[in-house]
Amino acid sequence: MSDTLLRIEDLHAGYGDFVAVDSASLEVKKGGIVALIGINGAGKTTLMNTVAGLHKPSSGKVYFKDEEITALSADRIVAKGLSLVPQGGRCFTRMSVQDNLLMGSFPKTARKNAKAMLARVYELFPDLEQMKQRPAGNLSGGQRQMVAIGRALMGSPECLIFDEISLGLSPVVINDIYRIIKRINKEENTSIILIEQDIRRALKTSDAFYVMLKGKVVLSGKSDEVDPETLKKAYFGI
């Protein structure tokens, strides 16, 4: 076994004639945090949705734990341990907070650990335990984001993808959520991919980064060695 957990090779994806991801390659190491940055419309979300099985690639390959998972359906990819927290803290709004979380234990492999994981999620997010019977639709944006993270954690994933987790949240809540992401990474050794608009925060949190522009990965490297000038050029394509 190599220490690479997720490997994306030359992936292409689009919507009809529109090419959203135009040859993207990316690697995530076991226990690593990778930041995926880029302007709106660069193809970050499409790339990660394709990896998670929500979108079908037109070509290219995705390997997870040295096993090809390209174009598997989303439910089978989750069962293998790769989980995506979609943009905007999407929850099952008509279901209670606890039922939302329990949905994360749906894969058969996760069910026997459901009780322990529920306790773990409530330990990470004590607020959620207070409101476990409330419908998720009544929660604030930050709380909904916590429910979405908790739901993904319930399946004990080995790799977690967060799509613009800080979008529309207050700075205090963002700090809280980032602290918890780091805890998850450290305590469970979960690899993490952060899609983020906030470049500074993304680089501070991650070990490695990738910059996408017009569907291509235009720059990558170690987060603490990045040259701001090169990054700016790659980011805006100037």
Partner: protein
Amino acid sequence: MYIAQILVNGILLGSVYALLGIGMTMIFGIVKLTNLAHGEFVVLGAYLSTVLAPLLGIDPILTLAITVPLMFILGFLLQYGLIGRAMKKGSEPALLVTFGLSIILQDGMLMIFSADARHIPVPYSKDTIKIGALEISVLHLVLFAISLIAILLLSLFLRNTYMGRAIRATADDADVAALSGVNINRVYAIAMGIAMASAAVAGLCVGMKWTYDPSVGGNYLLIAFVVVVIGGMGSVPGTLVAGILFGMAQVIGGASYGLLISYILLLLVLIFKPKGIFGK
């Protein structure tokens, strides 16, 4: 006393109307599909019970042990192999497939069972019991018990099991459900199986209460439709309340005005609460 009698009869019969709507509302809420074959599913359930009871020499109610699993499997396969495929092309093709199914089922039943009106006979169909000044039909009590148990079991299943939660989650946001590890196509197939199993139970009730023939499916589709819209699509408690309201309308209006009253009710709901009494 007259009002109490109406209330009781409306509630008892209303549970059957609610049961008619339950299968429809599940498909609306979960698969996001208007199942135009639901009425024929109900009639098919009625025929199965009518034929099986004398054949096996058992009480008609006991035929549910066969018809419910049988119709569940049929619904599962129909969704997985046929309707689900059409859904990939969009919602209109899927709608047309259910319309085609309703015609095929209707003509198929006409070929096999002829156009003669049938009925599921039960020995207690004329019996009544008196509670104070109230006179209650035993048949209505039995139908009420069957419908309520069926709806209660379904609610418990949806509330407390992993698959039940997955069904509710899929109704809420199918993408996120898939990201939680749910096989959406399988959930759709199970939902259609449950809808058809509920139609088996509704068919038994309908066959015990009224006479039927292969052409009456459309009437039951219409009733299910009204109940579902009044109650709010996809809501189980809403369907129960709407079924009872519909039942009251039938009892108050009788054969001449019952449907008229329920359509006026439907219009009022559409004007003042277009998503239904329990709709969100």
